[in-house]
Symmetry: C2
Subunit: 226 residues, 2 copies
DNA sequence: CCTTCTGTGTTAGTAATACTATCATTTGTA
DNA sequence: TACAAATGATAGTATTACTAACACAGAAGG
């Protein structure tokens, strides 16, 4: 089963819409593989051009910089996550179960949804963990933000915060907790894999399992008034 | 009142110890100012050399790369934070008050300790917020970690986790919560300043105030068994 | 059928970056 | 006074991030 997912992303992210052409899609899907393999610092348009049997100027006709390309990929990912959350939560009524499913989805605990689309989800998830903060931790963050380039992340965060509010209507930090859960899902998995002394995961593997349990405790304790 | 703080940092971080010479100290303190001003991406050894009226090769005799220099600065910061925590907690007996003081220190809520040393603490704090994850979110993280270059962060995290354990001896995630608090202190302040829709701070300023209150709720709710 | 337009390939080039090599000079120390 | 260590000065390399100019191929339209 192949499903094509397309999301409307901010036009400030690209010069030419990569979804519209074969070469555009090749740029994005191969960029995901390449950034996964060598990391964002080592990633260059030159290397990507070689990988897709094309040239640098062609890539520059789609994206003005590698930073914009990364931001484009991350926006696709945030849009995708929100879509998956909304799909899968639609069948559930119990708010607690809804929240637990959100935690499963953001930790990729049980990835039911691989191979359903153009991009390699496993690579994408690793990129999100290791590189996502590099898209906003830059001096130009305010200008980028003004051009709606973080809208999908904010939208996802809002969605999660609304589920939190159904569980605890008086909880004063729903959006901060939502963004903390998203960030913590990433950095605790990174720590568990690379800096395990910053976590309590004894097993040296089962990282997603560990992170899911930790986030579950964090969430449900925090929204319960002490 | 001037106090000189020196910490023993991993020798893998530098070629020549910058604490030992005037030019070494100038490199570090001016790097902090320059990274604060233009961000780590725009920061180059060439620009730093101009600022200290020296040349690139001189800086390269101290640090092999700008990434190592950033890691050196962050290590100094983590060592400093642990030192401040231990100093100020020594006079306190109540574990709850200890933990609250830790939260004040890591959010820099009431910076009693500016101007006490060589480096500009305010600039340093901004660097930690915006750039610290760039020191470990790299492909080479495992090799860097093997060379003890994150020891001060782990040590600080362990210290906080021990305080958490005195408050809640059965809490199963003391180290993960400690690392989460450190990370969240940074990204919630960044979000509050630049992406406020990811937080619930209504005031558009008082960022440290907001983050401290949020972290306090997060901490004391989480360690309380639900 | 010819034209036009759009997208891509090709080649070339620039300024800046991240380094390294060499050698002369200064400086503190024995 | 002699010596080694640190620094300065100069120069150079490979790579990166990006741009310019032009040729070509294919589709669309008259």
């Amino acid at each position: 089963m192949e499903v094509l997912l397309k999301f409307k992303l901010s036009e400030h992210l690209y010069l030419r819409d990569p979804e519209q052409t074969e070469i555009g899609k090749a740029i994005v899907s191969n960029a995901i593989v390449l950034i996964f393999e060598i990391g964002f610092e080592q990633f260059t348009f030159k290397k990507l051009a070689v990988k897709i049997n094309s040239t640098e100027p062609t890539i520059y006709r789609y994206f003005t910089s590698k930073h914009k390309l990364l931001t484009y990929i991350l926006n696709w990912y945030w849009s995708y996550l929100e879509y998956v959350c909304k799909m899968r939560l639609a069948e559930i009524n119990d708010p607690t179960k809804k929240m637990m499913l959100i935690l499963e989805i953001i930790t990729h605990h049980a990835d039911h949804h691989t191979h359903l689309h153009d991009y390699n989800l496993d690579h994408l998830h690793h990129i999100v963990i290791s590189e996502s903060s590099k898209s906003y931790l830059v001096k130009e963050v305010d200008e980028i933000n003004n051009e709606m380039m973080f809208a999908p992340l904010k939208s996802l965060c809002l969605f999660i915060s609304e589920v939190l509010l159904t569980l605890a209507p008086k909880f004063p930090y729903p959006k901060s907790l939502a963004s903390t859960l998203l960030e913590t899902a990433h950095d605790q998995q990174f720590f568990s894999e690379h800096l395990p002394k910053l976590t309590d995961n004894k097993s040296r593997n089962n990282h997603k399992d560990y992170v899911l349990k930790y986030l579950t405790r964090l969430t449900f304790s925090t929204i319960t008034d002490p």
